[in-house]
């Protein structure tokens, strides 16, 4: 008998879990899967929603699964269906249409819901008020895009990652967009003060209005956001991006332990061993990251456990990296970004170049990078993002990270050492070419004939040519010369 796994939620975590299970158990020998999804769409990639708003991607482009996915993968898929309650005693879930589904293992992948601050005008009863949107579901995209299409101003409430990516996407469309942020620092979870300031400047350059330290008094539909100081930020639409909260009501109602999120251990079990939770709704070791990377790592571990592919698999937390997906801005933040140079133990390097919209912060402990912010250094950002979470040490010279891997310039050929290889294809050194030249090979072709230099890929031809020219110019001294051509160059000059 195989195990019947019922997954509540067909978002990025739930869909991924089903894929990971089928990768290990393609014939459904170990695990039977039922997924219950509240939305009517096949699973899609929530990370890409700002790009759909921007118009860069179509809604179809965000699809994670095709129409045949469930059938081909032996997955029972119930779409547009909500779980009303979990009957833990009966090992079953109750659906909104009155049906019940029994389970051996239940996985809560219910995700998160947008959190709206208590500001007048944002709500209309339980629903969003007219002129207010969130960017959480696929269906949110066309609403936002339609306003942008009409050329009307938009305000984005919240200067976190999602808010900034949304604002950047709208600015790319030519929309007049203003980010209104409560704190005096953008992305305050990830960035320190100077980084926030550089980012604000970079966004302003990109056509995004940025207002920091704002208390919003209310939203006046059709007009804009009224701030505490009386200013009105014009907005036909307010996109609220003030954070999400784990969707825990189902678990809580079932009596499963819930704190901020549904509490799970290293086996991703709740306090009911038949019930698991992964993704945004779960809280592991005090953390609900709300990021897709950890959700997918959890899905992989849980698939190992549910299929028996690796009974020793454990989830020990993630080392997430935040990378802002905003055109023209290269920003990566990871680990402990708020540690200051005054820290008694950590080495903290900081370099601000606000004029060029660049900023670097690097936190190193025990030779490991434990925190970093990189704005405007794409190569360094990539290096440090890839290094983070590996066993490898930070560069001995941290400033190397800023330069990127460039080879040193080799300088004029006449200044090179005699042993320097000029023609790689035939291992011909400068010294051999000089000897051949002295023996009478006074042209590129003659040098080639004498040494084979340039007879392979032909790539050194220009260098050989330059050497021949330089030797010709140094002719008067050449007769007396032996090895040190740098000196001769000095004489000739």
């Amino acid at each position: 008998m195989n195990t019947h796994v019922v997954i509540v939620g067909y978002g990025m975590a739930g869909a991924r879990l089903a894929e990971e299970i089928r990768a290990r158990d393609p014939d459904a020998a170990a695990v039977r899967i039922t997924i219950i999804g509240a939305e009517r769409h096949l699973a899609y990639n929530r990370v890409l929603l700002p790009h759909i708003v921007e118009g860069e991607l179509s809604r179809a482009d965000a699809a994670l699964h095709g129409a045949g996915w469930a059938r081909e993968n032996r997955v029972e898929l119930l779409l547009g269906t909500t779980v009303r309650a979990v009957d833990r005693a009966g090992n079953r879930v109750l659906l909104d249409d009155g049906r019940t589904v029994g389970y051996d293992r239940l996985v809560l992948a219910t995700g998160s819901t947008p959190w709206l601050p208590p500001i007048e005008g944002l709500r209309d009863g339980a629903a969003l008020a007219e002129g207010v949107a969130v960017l959480h579901d696929l269906d949110d995209c066309p609403r936002i895009a339609a306003v942008a299409e009409r050329g009307e101003p938009v305000a984005v409430l919240g200067g976190g990652v999602l808010g900034l990516e949304s604002a950047s996407a709208l600015a790319e469309r030519g929309t007049q967009v203003t980010v209104v942020h409560r704190s005096d620092r953008l992305m305050d979870r990830q960035l320190d003060g100077p980084a926030g300031a550089v980012l604000a400047d970079a966004l302003t350059d990109a056509g995004v209005g940025v207002l920091l330290g704002c208390q919003v008094r209310r939203y006046r539909p059709g007009t804009g956001l009224e701030l505490a100081n009386g200013t009105v930020v014009p907005a036909r639409l307010v996109v609220v991006a003030t954070g999400v909260r784990p969707a825990v009501s189902l678990a809580a109602a079932a009596g499963i332990a819930v704190e901020h999120g549904v509490v799970v251990d290293d086996l991703l079990r709740t306090d009911d061993p038949a019930v698991h939770a992964i993704g945004d709704c779960a809280q592991h070791d005090g953390v609900s990251s709300g990021l897709v990377g950890p959700a997918w790592e959890q899905a992989s571990v849980l698939a190992d456990l549910l299929t028996g592919a690796d009974p020793a698999a454990r989830y020990r937390g993630s080392a997430p990296v935040t990378a802002l997906k905003a055109r023209g801005i290269d920003l990566v933040a990871l680990g402990e970004t708020h540690t200051e140079p005054s820290d008694p133990v950590a080495e903290v390097l900081r370099l601000a170049d606000p004029a060029r919209r660049r900023y670097v912060k690097l936190v190193v402990r025990n030779e490991r990078v434990t925190g970093a912010i990189m704005i405007g250094f794409p190569a360094g950002a990539a290096t440090v993002a890839q290094l983070y979470g590996t066993p490898n040490a930070a560069p001995a010279e941290p400033l190397d990270l800023l330069a990127g891997a460039t080879a040193p310039a080799s300088g004029p050929v006449l200044h090179r050492q005699a042993s320097s290889v000029i023609c790689r294809c035939n291992t011909v050194t400068k010294g051999e070419l000089v000897t051949a030249w002295q023996a009478g090979a006074r042209s590129v072709d003659a040098l080639r004939e004498a040494t084979r230099a340039g007879s392979g890929c032909g790539g050194c031809r220009d260098t050989v040519c330059a050497l021949a020219d330089a030797l010709a110019r140094a002719e008067p001294a050449a007769a007396a010369a032996t090895a040190d051509w740098a000196e001769i160059e000095g004489v000739a000059a």
Binding site: N45, P408, G456
Partner: protein, 702 residues
């Protein structure tokens, strides 16, 4: 050894098969013939140092000129007559088959063998030995590229266009291909791309080729699939997808995109360490170019997910509308001299001549008909190269092995284990022209002719069939491989006519066996090649002009469309940890070829690069307590290799590089991971978890 005449031929080494001219020489040293470069399309008059010095191997000191026999284990190899050696081998082969069944004897071939030899070696295994156990070193070379190309296009021809077409392209992306070292004259075809700022190289090292590029992407080893998916993601997000081409010529895009949709560029950056901006630039260069090519090499292919890696690059190429388009395309750069022909004519465990599948009843019937045997008498598919070597001397595994033109104790991964397996054999027979490391372990060694001593065809990297010409007679005591196969077959009861010893007759029979197959050579003859015709396969009849460009009208699947494969990134087969925190990757240097059995015997080449080295970032070296010029150990979970430290500031700090050409304690394959690709059975040569440490036996005061 007088030269008969001046002869136009091709280089004995890599798949570029540079044109060269051999002529009489009176010069002392450097071999019995003089080598000159020839203006041939592939090399445009260029040769690398290996080519220039290739003649010195003809009379090298270590040349084998007499059969050698080890009468019992532990005894030395002693010279014997040909008859004694052949009788001994035939008797032992007969005994092994009688006692343990047909599959008790295995055959190991080579991408260095001519088409004629590769063809007759496969026939020898299937007909004279009746064994399914035959594979070859090309499994370690082209198998991932071949499997992915076949899956996508329906046919695998490394470059489905003449290599000279590249010269007109404004952008060329080289993925894991270090052509400036591995086939230097190839670089001559990249001039326009380099001048236009469109030469892009993907390599974990800043290789000699990367130095030539306008854009170098330097991913962590083993992360190519993520990089390709990230680039496909960018191609779609930035509107570079050729939708009309996809609709007309490709199936499977939606599924492939579902995989790539998960690889937004920032996620790919996290895994690969490649800046998003660089991925973007690379895609834009390819998309905007007047003519663009994507070419893969071993760097992206020699992984346990090598087929998926090549598929991912093919997907990117298809999304941009490159393959099968005049002036653009996708290809893989074949490595060994006859790596293309060697994979077409039946020395691979699952193949029959003409690139036919051995499991296909029609293919079996056709080939059996040409061979004059019953289709049912042909064995089925056997073990792949590493699996074959791994099974030697085990219960149910082969107990005898016959090796032609290969040096598996150097070239196989996890080679300490492979040496143990070879040691467990009842009989090891090696045919070679130098005493390779594998020959040194053999019970019987047959001294055979080399490239300039007999005619024979190869098929180069763009599928053109070439005739290498005999310039001088082989030394006394040396026989051709075809003579050896014939002599053994006759002793095993085969009619002599079934194993021709004439190269021309063997090629004619190969042509018949390949007729109607994907790689159809039936219209090619030595006579047409002697006349100088440029023939790219397929050439289905004697009047056919050859097929320089495949796929311009249709791909080779029944519906005429290319197929995208939905592939995802899995990462390397083993992970680093605190004990093995680095990645070790392997590759070649310009002066040496493959296991170095040939090039280490050429004085100029050996002097240029005499020993194994490890390229390492100075930081990483310092942490390992080694300095530039020190001897060091690179250790993995399987073994350790000795190499001299070369501090190289352009290296990634998490990666070390070791070349594959050096013997004994310097064998890079002592550390490589034999994890196999599930489709191609390619081992993971290019990525293993490793540690760098000082060499423990440092003499005092060194």
């Amino acid at each position: 050894m007088p030269v008969v005449t001046q002869v136009d031929t091709h280089c004995p080494y890599c798949a570029l098969q540079c044109g060269m001219r051999l002529s009489p020489t009176t010069r002392q040293g450097g071999g019995p013939v003089r080598v000159a470069a020839r203006d041939f399309p592939a090399n445009q008059g260029g040769l690398c140092q290996k080519g220039w010095t290739s003649a010195s191997l003809l009379d090298t000191q270590g040349r084998l000129t007499t059969p050698l026999l080890r009468r019992r284990r532990g005894a030395p190899l002693s010279p014997v007559s040909w008859d004694e050696a052949l009788d001994f081998v035939a008797d032992r082969l007969r005994e092994l088959r009688a006692d343990h069944g047909d599959d008790a004897v295995a055959v190991f071939g080579s991408g260095g063998l001519s088409n004629e030899k590769a063809y007759l070696l496969g026939k020898f295994a299937r007909v004279a030995l009746g064994t399914s156990q035959i594979d070859y070193n090309g499994r370690f070379c082209m198998s991932s590229a071949a499997a992915a190309a076949t899956r996508a296009f329906g046919i695998d021809r490394g470059l489905p266009f003449p290599v000279t077409d590249l010269a007109d392209a404004e952008a060329v992306l080289l993925v894991g291909a270090n052509v400036a070292e591995t086939m230097p004259p190839f670089v001559r075809h990249l001039g326009r791309a380099a001048r236009a700022g469109g030469l892009i190289v993907i390599d974990p090292r800043r290789s000699a080729t990367a130095e030539l590029a306008s854009l170098h992407l330097q991913p962590a080893p083993g992360t190519d699939v993520a990089l390709a998916l990230g680039m496909l993601h960018i191609a779609l997000a930035e509107g570079h997808i050729d939708r009309d081409y996809l609709a007309a010529r490709v199936t499977g895009f939606d599924e492939a995109w579902h995989a790539a949709a998960r690889w937004w560029p920032q996620r790919a950056m996290r895994v690969t360490g490649v800046p998003v901006a660089d991925m973007r630039s690379a895609v834009r260069l390819l998309a905007a170019a007047d003519g663009a090519y994507v070419l893969t090499g071993r760097g992206t292919e020699q992984h346990a997910d090598g087929v998926n890696a090549v598929s991912a690059w093919i997907n990117l190429s298809l999304a941009l509308g490159l393959p099968g388009t005049m002036g653009s395309g996708f290809g893989c750069l074949t490595g060994q001299g006859n790596g293309q022909g060697g994979r077409e004519h039946g020395q691979k465990a699952d193949q029959l001549p003409g690139y036919r599948r051995i499991t296909d009843p029609a293919a079996r019937a056709h080939v059996a008909g040409v061979w004059g045997v019953e289709p049912d008498s042909l064995p089925g598919p056997g073990r792949s190269a590493y699996e074959l070597l791994d099974a030697l001397g085990t219960d149910g595994g082969p107990r005898g092995l016959v090796v032609f033109g290969s040096n598996p104790v150097m070239s196989a991964p996890n080679t300490g284990h492979v040496a143990d397996r070879l040691g467990a054999l009842d009989l090891l027979v090696v045919a070679d022209f130098v005493a390779s490391e594998t020959a040194a372990l053999a019970d019987v060694v047959f001294p055979v002719a080399q490239w300039a001593e007999e005619d024979g065809t190869t098929t180069n990297l763009d599928g053109r069939v070439l005739l290498r010409r005999k310039a001088i007679p082989a030394p006394d005591g040396v026989r051709g491989d075809l003579d050896v196969l014939n002599a053994l077959a006759v002793r095993l009861g085969q009619p002599a006519s079934r194993f021709p010893t004439s190269q021309e007759a063997a090629f004619a029979e190969l042509g018949m066996a390949s007729a109607g197959g994907p790689a159809d050579y039936s219209g090619i003859s030595h006579a047409r090649l002697r006349a100088g015709e440029a023939l790219h396969w397929p050439v289905p009849d004697a009047a056919h002009p050859g097929t320089p460009r495949l796929f311009l009208d249709a791909f080779a699947h029944p519906d005429g469309k290319a197929r995208m494969a939905a592939v995802d990134h899995n990462g390397p087969a083993e992970e680093p940890d605190a004990r093995y925190p680095l990645w070790a990757t392997t590759g070649r240097v310009l002066q040496h070829y493959q296991t170095g059995a040939q090039t280490r015997r050429v004085p100029e080449l050996a002097a240029a690069v005499p020993e194994a080295f490890v390229e390492v970032h100075p930081d990483t070296a310092a942490r390992a307590n080694v300095s530039d010029g020190d001897l060091a150990v690179v250790a993995s979970r399987r073994g350790e290799v000795r190499a001299r430290v070369r501090c190289t500031p352009s290296m990634r700090r998490d990666t070390v590089f070791v070349p594959i050409h050096f013997p004994d304690a310097q064998r890079a394959n002592l550390i490589t991971n034999p994890a196999l690709d599930p489709v191609s059975r390619m081992p993971e040569f290019k990525t293993c978890a490793a540690r760098l440490a000082p060499w423990p036996d440092l003499p005092e005061g060194r």
